[in-house]
């Protein structure tokens, strides 16, 4: 048993998978440079010492990184390709959306793409091009699984499940949750560290978890917003409102059984996401709950998300942009009050 941050847990997970399976390798920018950082958020720090040939430092070439990873994956290797910031995925959009997501389908199911992609996300004082939450853009692309681990335990377990999955899996990691240390520490970071059990475990893709039980409303949230939802639930409890917080952990596949069972119990649902409201993944979840659970709902499903603007830089504006515990609590109050 060890107490680890997300960055440490991911590093341990990568180490164990590379030791377990020689097909696993990492490629990305600045991930194994001597005297470097071990990736933008220290996840691969030191791994190059043991796995020199399998920690591949690339040029700044995102289309190349994901395209090469795809080529290696279809030959039976198990690449873990990453970008420094999720915003940089857009340079690789053709490879991810047209090639990686569709290769198996276009082949009539004959080609497998065992490929893990990792991308840090979240508004963190870096403005419009280093702080987006692009989950929703990929959520609308068939052929990619999407995971959003909010704790160190889940980050390690999901990474291992993704490496072994045999399909393209895009893992979004939140910059404020990594627990990066030293010069790479983030201001405003949230403690997402966990007790990590000794020995091997996986967190299956598509399996959510109830983070806090409650009876009046179901709050569905991932990554940083999951932590904000827990804060909101704490405040609401003091007001006599019992909120259940569900962390779906994966967006694709989505744990409908868990969400539906909760909504049956609470009769109200709130979906929280950090990215812009328009076209957000939360809209799909909210509309599906509305469609399939209408017999159980006593109020319309509500959403909390960012406004439809780029991520602003100035701290007061960034705080206005990104949903927080109070905004979540307010939405719950109006939901419960409307019943």
């Amino acid at each position: 048993m060890a107490h680890l941050t997300i960055a440490e847990a991911l590093r341990q997970g990568l180490h164990e998978e590379m030791a377990r399976d020689e097909r696993v390798f990492c490629m990305g920018e600045d991930i194994g440079i001597r005297g470097g950082w071990g990736g933008a958020f220290t996840v691969t720090l030191g791994l190059e010492k043991e796995f020199r040939e399998r920690i591949i430092d690339t040029p700044i070439s995102e289309a190349g990184i994901f395209g090469l990873a795809l080529g290696a994956a279809i030959m039976g290797l198990r690449p873990v390709a990453d970008v420094q910031y999720g915003d940089f995925l857009f340079y690789a959009m053709d490879q991810i959306v047209n090639q990686i997501a569709k290769m198996r389908y276009m082949s009539g199911g004959k080609v497998s793409v065992p490929l893990v992609m990792r991308a840090p996300v979240g508004a963190t004082g870096r403005g419009a091009q280093h702080g987006q939450n692009p989950e929703s853009i990929f959520f609308s692309v068939p052929g990619i699984k999407i995971a959003c681990p909010a704790t160190a335990y889940d980050a390690k377990g999901i990474l291992k499940a993704a490496i072994r999955d045999g399909n393209p899996v895009l893992i979004f990691e939140h910059k404020l949750l990594y627990g990066s240390k030293g010069a790479r520490a983030e201001s405003g970071a949230v403690d997402a560290s966990s007790e990590i059990p000794d020995g091997d475990y996986v967190v299956p893709l598509g399996k959510g978890i109830v983070r806090r039980e409650g009876s009046d409303v179901t709050i569905i949230a991932t990554l940083l917003m999951m932590h904000r939802a827990l804060q909101a639930a704490e405040r609401l409890a003091a007001e006599g409102i019992s909120a259940e917080v569900i962390d779906p952990r994966s967006l694709v596949p989505f744990d409908w059984d868990l969400v539906n069972a909760s909504v049956m119990k609470t009769s109200r649902a709130l979906v929280v996401e950090e990215g812009p409201r328009q076209g957000g993944w939360g809209a799909e979840i909210a509309s599906t709950i509305g469609d399939t659970m209408s017999d159980y709902l006593t109020a319309p499903v509500r959403r909390v998300a960012s406004p439809n603007i780029p991520v602003p830089f100035s701290p007061p504006m960034e705080n206005f942009y990104r949903p927080d515990a109070e905004r979540i609590a307010d939405a719950v109050r109006s939901l419960v009050g409307s019943a």
């Binding site: 070439s61 795809l70 080609v111």
Partner: protein, 319 residues
């Protein structure tokens, strides 16, 4: 270099198989018998055949929106292709790919990538896998001339160069990116000059001379296989059919077209085979009859094959 007659005739037969396959497909298409759209390979056959003849069965190619020739040259059967073009479940991609995505990993062909230059990083990644596993195998990325102006081309070729990956980049320069003359879109006389910018060998050759293509490919493939890294090969050629269905090619000057028809690779190679005494006209005619029978069989079985069930569209997303 001298070759035995059997080898020379096998090159000729493969080129002819591609040409007649494409002509038959064009007819079926214009008659409205075949669904979809098509990008055809007439005039460029010497490149696919010359390059693939320099490869081992377990070497791997990536292709483009114009993939029928590469597929036949790499060993896919015309039957599996024809069934795919007709959208049948018995096609090489079970009807999910169609003309622009034909391929078969068992034959060493990645399902074709129909985004210009999209296959270039993928072939490079295939080569990365060979390199990491220390397997003596080679990847080839076929691409059109337009691909050299895509960012993905630049990123991938550079990565192959810095890691000495076993990959050969084959540019089929048919002078037009769709209808746009390529030499209005680059300030170069030879696209292979780009190689110098990556620190790798580059060469421009007559892509309508199948033996020249074969010899050049063999050298590049051996360099790649022995750890010498990538090569950029520009094959000069000409598309003697439209870019895609029903393209009347009004952008191709008449004189240029006429010269291209005189220079097309199959007629040239037939003359060579006859003048060098490898085959006579009757022998070449027999080969033509053979490939036509093979193609007719593919058409008949494809048209008779079962359509997929519509809801089979929902399968094959994830493993």
């Amino acid at each position: 270099m001298s070759y035995d007659a059997k080898f020379l005739l096998s090159l000729y037969r493969k080129m002819l198989l591609i040409r007649h396959f494409e002509e038959r497909v064009k007819y079926l298409f214009l008659e409205g018998i075949m669904p979809g759209t098509i990008h055809q390979y007439q005039g460029q056959e010497a490149i696919a055949v010359g390059v693939c003849s320099a490869l081992h069965a377990d070497d791997v190619i990536t292709s483009t929106h114009r993939p029928h020739g590469h597929a036949i040259a790499k060993g896919l059967t015309v039957e599996s292709l024809m069934h795919e073009l007709f959208g049948k479940i018995s096609g090489c991609c079970r009807g999910k790919g169609g003309s622009m995505h034909v391929g078969d990993m068992e034959k060493g062909m990645v399902p074709a990538v129909a985004i210009v230059a999209g296959g270039v990083p993928i072939a490079t990644g295939v080569a990365l896998a060979f390199s990491l596993r220390k397997e003596p195998r080679v990847a080839v990325a076929f691409m059109g001339d337009g691909a050299v102006n895509e960012g993905a081309f630049h990123e991938a070729v550079n990565m192959a160069a810095i890691w000495s990956l076993p990959v050969v980049y084959v540019i089929e320069n048919n002078l037009y990116s769709a209808s746009t003359p390529i030499f209005e879109m680059v300030r170069l006389k030879r696209l292979s000059d780009r190689a110098a910018g990556y620190g790798i060998p580059g060469v421009s050759i007559d892509g309508n001379d199948v033996l020249k293509v074969y010899e050049t490919a063999r050298e590049a493939v051996e360099r790649a296989r022995s750890g010498g890294g990538p090569t950029l090969v520009e094959c000069m050629t000409y598309r003697i059919t439209g870019h895609s269905r029903r393209d009347p090619c009004n952008y191709q000057p008449e004189e240029e077209r006429k010269r291209a028809l005189e220079n097309e690779p199959i007629g040239r190679f037939a003359s060579h085979l006859q003048s060098s005494g490898v085959a006579d006209q009757a022998g070449l005619d027999r080969l033509a009859a053979e490939v036509d029978a093979e193609i007719e069989h593919a058409v008949e079985t494809a048209m008779a094959a079962q359509d997929p069930k519509p809801e089979q569209a929902l399968e094959d997303i994830f493993a």
